[in-house]
């Protein structure tokens, strides 16, 4: 595929690795924030070809993984209502809540539909005028504009039976929370390419200005990742800290202003709860006044008290504090066919990636 194959050139990759080895002198730990980066890094064996003193750790960049149990439990409780159709992206289906999952609920006969695009939620709502369609709005800034478009359309078309369970997340405030953690040392960030396609470089500036750390917005092919790592190393070796873009073919400094405007037409920044990281100010979105009627959290509904599996380390894995290999459940009680935590469910989850490639 064009713009993909060129960035997998083996000869250039080998030279880039030599270049990294030559440039790098200091022992450092870099975090790849995005789960898709983790997958690429493992698929192309990048951890194994870097010098020993450069360590890569995986971050919280898997939307399904950071969704807290109480939101999954709420989705499950909603699915049990007779007049509700749940509309969701496929990766939520197998995520275990406190006692059930959407997949189990569907097997029990609940009406749960998997969609690929938020616009399909409008279609399902229209086809079921006597029911309430509830869209599980889960994702980072890449997905939020697509959800915003669905809200705008629903309003425009006066669709009164489409609701949203909003558990969207904003990446930059989570990075600020990670930089303040004592348990994990981060010398630089490999920043997510597609979140940054939407938000650009501005929201990350605090990483360099307040924390003095470099960060590079990076693409997902092996040459992208190697170049991104090299750009980080170069900054570190030269004692510089700034937000740079490696993934220039789709990331502009100001992001995608049309998409950003769509988000802020319907949402404003608000506190959000992350698995592992807890409540973080401004790390999510809340409905603006004129869209609050679409918020499913207004429903009067009883949700089971949420509880976590006592041994699952997903929360620590998401923060880069623990590796899946330190988890007693990994590959023993927890595997992709029977996941204990969401990090083993999602194809972007760190545990799933370790399972597949390690």
């Amino acid at each position: 595929m064009k713009f993909v194959d060129e960035f997998r050139n083996k000869g250039i990759a080998e030279r880039m690795i030599q270049k990294i080895q030559k440039t790098s002198t200091r022992p450092i730990q870099l975090m790849e924030v995005c789960g898709t980066h983790t997958v690429s890094i493992f698929r192309y064996g990048i951890r194994g070809i870097l010098p020993n003193h450069i360590k890569l750790i995986s971050g919280p960049g898997c939307p399904v993984c950071v969704t807290p149990n109480q939101d999954i439990d709420l989705a499950i409780a909603l699915s049990r209502q007779k007049d509700v159709v749940i509309v969701t992206f496929g990766d939520m289906m197998r995520v275990p809540g406190s006692t059930s999952s959407l997949q189990k609920e569907r097997a029990e006969g609940r009406d749960i539909r998997i969609i690929y695009s938020s616009l399909e939620a409008l279609k399902i709502a229209k086809e079921h005028p006597g029911k309430k369609a509830v869209f599980l709005a889960i994702g980072f800034e890449t997905t939020s504009p697509t959800i915003a478009v669905a809200l705008l359309r629903a309003k425009e078309e006066k669709l009164h039976n489409l609701f949203f369970l909003n558990s969207q997340k904003r990446v930059p405030p989570a990075l600020a929370a990670l930089l303040q953690l004592k348990q994990v040392k981060i010398d630089g960030f490999i920043l997510p390419g597609h979140v940054s396609t939407i938000i650009g470089t501005n929201p990350y500036q605090f990483i360099a200005k307040e924390f003095g750390k470099p960060a590079v917005i990076t693409g997902f092919e092996p040459l992208d990742i190697l170049q991104g790592i090299w750009m980080l190393i170069k900054q570190i070796e030269e004692d510089r800290a700034s937000i740079e873009i490696q993934y220039r073919r789709v990331v502009r400094e100001n992001g995608n202003p049309i998409a950003i405007n769509k988000i802020y037409e319907v949402f404003e920044k608000g506190e959000s709860e992350w698995r592992g990281l807890g409540r973080i100010p401004d790390s999510g979105y809340r409905f603006k006044e004129s869209y609050k009627e679409m918020d499913v959290r207004n429903f009067d509904i009883e949700v089971e008290p949420s509880k976590e599996h006592s041994e699952c380390l997903c929360g620590e894995v998401l923060q880069g504090i623990k590796s899946p290999l330190e988890c007693r459940l990994f590959k023993v009680a927890c595997h992709p066919e029977n996941p204990v935590g969401p990090c083993m469910v999602s194809i972007e989850g760190t545990c799933h990636t370790y399972f597949k490639y390690q």
């Binding site: 000869g11 690929y116 504009p145 478009v149 049309i258 998409a259």
Partner: protein
């Protein structure tokens, strides 16, 4: 075509996607797609520049 929708070729498969977030595209251009939406145009010149830079770096060792 429906309002704001476009046909895209994804590795040989035709797919219908929304242009709500990336309205300024012409037939034949490449776009980045996420969850049924075009979210950005792929800038071919930037792609070439990145590749050329990589090639140059690879030669300069």
């Amino acid at each position: 075509m429906k309002k704001n929708m476009a046909q895209v070729d994804v590795g040989g498969f035709l797919r219908e996607i929304s242009l709500d977030l990336c309205p300024d595209v012409s037939i034949g251009e490449y776009v980045l797609i996420h969850a049924g939406f075009a979210i950005q145009k792929v800038d071919g010149e930037e792609a070439m520049e990145t590749l050329n830079l990589l090639k140059k770096m690879a030669e300069a060792i």
